[in-house]
C-alpha cells in the first residue's frame, strides 16, 4: 500500500499530476472540439471560432488551454482539500455560498431556465438546477471554456468564477493556518509560495491564451448576454433562414416569447417560399417541431388534411428534444 511506502511523497506528486493532467486534457478537449467543429462554426459564427486557423496556432492554443485547465484545477482542488482538512462544514458553507450566488444571479437575471425545448413545469426547474450545478462544478474545477456560452454560465460570470477559483486557495490556506483543529499541519509558508507560483503560472497561461485566440471572440469572455437575449440576437442578426429557425425552435419557447409576433410575421412572409424551394433544413422533422401558431393558416390546414388522409388525425407536433440542444449555443 502506498500509505506505508517510503517513497510516498514522489508517488503522491506523480498521482496528483496525472489526475490533474487527465482532467485538464478532457476539459480542453471538450472546449476545443466544440470550437473547431465545422457545424458549430456555421451555426453560430459569432460565438465559435476563437481557435485560429493554422495548425500551429491550433496546436499551441490547445496546449495552452490544457495548461490553463491544469493550473486552474490544481489551485481549486488544493483549495478544496485545505478547506476539507479544516472542516467539512466550512467547506460546505463556502462552496454552498458560491453555488447560491451563482444560482441567485441566474434567477435574478431571469436566466435560470434551460434552453432545452419541451421542458415544462417542475421538470423545467429540476433540470435547470442539475445542469447549473454541473456547469458550475466544471467551470470551478476545470475552467471549461465552452461553459462561457450565454446559455450555460455566461461570459462575465465565467471569468468571475475562474478568478475566484484562484483566490479560493489563499483564503483556504489562511483558514488552514489559523485552524486549531488540524493536527500535523503541512508547512504553510512553503505551501503559500507554491500557491503563488501556481497562480503566476495560471496568469501567464491566461495571457498566452488571449494572445493566441481570435481577438474578435474576446467579448465572449466578458459578455453579459443572457441565453434568451443571445437567442433573440441570433434571430435578428442573421439573414440565413436556417439559423433563424434553429434559434427559435431549438431553444425553449420562453426565450423568444417576447418576439413571438415578430417570428410569426417572418414565417408568414416566408413559409410559401420555403414550401416552393424546399431548402435542406425545411424537413418534415423541422415542420413537426413548429407550433401551430407559427404556421400560416393555409399551410396549417394543408398539413392537417395531409395528416388526416394518412390516417393519423390532425398533425402531431414532435415532443422530441431538438437537435443540438444539450450543449447550447
Amino acid at each position: 500500500m502506498y500509505i506505508t511506502s517510503p517513497k510516498k511523497a514522489t508517488f503522491h506528486l506523480v498521482s496528483i499530476l496525472i489526475s490533474t493532467l487527465t482532467t485538464a486534457f478532457s476539459s480542453a478537449m471538450i472546449s476545443y472540439d466544440q470550437d473547431v467543429s465545422v457545424k458549430n462554426r456555421k451555426k453560430n459564427s459569432e460565438f465559435y471560432g476563437y481557435v485560429k486557423n493554422t495548425n500551429l496556432e491550433r496546436t499551441s492554443t490547445f496546449v495552452v488551454m490544457m495548461l490553463l485547465a491544469a493550473f486552474h484545477n490544481l489551485s481549486r482542488t488544493i483549495g478544496t482539500a485545505l478547506l476539507l482538512a479544516v472542516s467539512g462544514s466550512t467547506t460546505f458553507v463556502i462552496m454552498g455560498a458560491e453555488m447560491a450566488f451563482y444560482i441567485g444571479f441566474k434567477v435574478l437575471r431571469n436566466d435560470f431556465v434551460l434552453w432545452i425545448p419541451g421542458l415544462e413545469g417542475a421538470l423545467m426547474y429540476i433540470a435547470a438546477l442539475i445542469v447549473h450545478v454541473i456547469v458550475k462544478v466544471l467551470v470551478d474545477f476545470t475552467g471549461l471554456i465552452h461553459c462561457r456560452g450565454a446559455k450555460l454560465m455566461g461570459g462575465s460570470l465565467f471569468t468571475f468564477s475562474t478568478v475566484l477559483g484562484q483566490i479560493l486557495p489563499f483564503v483556504a490556506l489562511s483558514l488552514y493556518s489559523a485552524s486549531t483543529t488540524v493536527e500535523n499541519k503541512t508547512n504553510t509558508h512553503k505551501m503559500n509560495i507554491a500557491l503563488i507560483v501556481q497562480a503566476c503560472c495560471w496568469g501567464l497561461s491566461v495571457i498566452a491564451f488571449f494572445g493566441l485566440i481570435d481577438s474578435e471572440k474576446l467579448w465572449t469572455f466578458y459578455g453579459t448576454t443572457t441565453g434568451a437575449q443571445a437567442t433573440i440576437q441570433t434571430f435578428r442578426s442573421s439573414d440565413d433562414p436556417a439559423i433563424k429557425m434553429n434559434a427559435i425552435f431549438s431553444n425553449h419557447s420562453s426565450f423568444t416569447e417576447s418576439i413571438k409576433d415578430e417570428v410569426i410575421a417572418y414565417m408568414r412572409d416566408n413559409w410559401a417560399e420555403w414550401e416552393r424551394t424546399q431548402p435542406a433544413w425545411f424537413t418534415p422533422k423541422f415542420i413537426a417541431s413548429v407550433g401551430d401558431e407559427f404556421i400560416p393558416g393555409r399551410a396549417l390546414h394543408q398539413l392537417n388534411e395531409a395528416a388526416i388522409e394518412t390516417g393519423g388525425g390532425a398533425r402531431r407536433r414532435s415532443s422530441v428534444l431538438s437537435v443540438r440542444v444539450i450543449l447550447g449555443n
Partner: protein
Amino acid sequence: MSISQQQLTPIVVVETLLELRSNSQPNNLIHVERVFTDNATLLAPLETICPKIKILLSHLLANTTTVMQKKARVSAGSEATRLHDLTDAEAATLGKSFKKFLLGNKEVATAVHAWQLDNPILEPLFTELIFEPMIIGIAKELMFASTLGLAKRVVLGAGLSIMDMITDIFVIRDYLRIGDTTSAHTLMAMIGLSIVIQLVIAYVQNRKKSKWVILRELLIVLSGLKPAVDAYRVATGYEDELSALEPLMDMSLGKGAELACESVPGESSEKMKIEKLN
C-alpha cells in the same frame, strides 16, 4: 449503368478513386490519372485550377507520411496563381500534410476544414463544388483504412474505459480492505452518479427509437464502452434522424458528466487524503 452515366457524381468519383487506393504513391498516381481521364467532364475544372492536383491527390491517398510544420513554398501572387503554379514538390507536401489533420481531429469534416484553413493556397479548389465532398469522402475511407485512424481511436477508447473501470474497482476493494468504508462509499457514489447521468443522456439521445435500441445504448453505458462507441460514431460521421443529439455533443456531454461527477470530486478527495497523510 454505363460508365458514362456513372461518371457524373462526386460520390462515384470518390468510390473509383478509392477502389484501387494503396499506400504506394506512384501506383496511386497512375490510378488518379486514369480516373481524371475517365471523368474529364467533372474533374477538368479542378485540373485547370491546379494542374498538379493529381500529384497532390496521389500523396493524399497514400496516407503514409506526415510532414513537419512546413508550408508549401510557392511563388508570390494571388492564391489562384500560386495554386496554378504549384511545383511537384509543393503538391506532394500539401497532399502528405493531410494525414496529420485527419489524425488530429475527431470529425472528418473538421479535419478537412482544418487542412483547408491551414493551407489558404487551396482556397480556389474549395470554391469548386465537387472538391470538398470529394475530399471528405476520401477522408472517411482513410480514417477506416489507417491503422492510426479509427482503429486506434476505438481500441484506445475501449482500452482506457475498461482500465478505468478496473482501477476504480481495485481502489474500492483496497479502501474496503483497510476499513476505509467512507472513502469506498464516496467513490461508489461518485461513479454511480456519473453512470446515472450518462444513462439519462443515453435515454434522451435515443428516446424516439425502439426499446431494443434504447436498451442496447443503456447497456453500452453500463459496460463502460461508451467512449469507444462515441469515438467510432464521431469519426465515421454517424447520423441518425431519430437521435436527439449529434455524436460530438453526445460525447462531450458524457465526458462532462464524468469530469463533474468522478474526476473532480476524486481529485479533491485524493489531495485531502495526501494532506492528511503528510
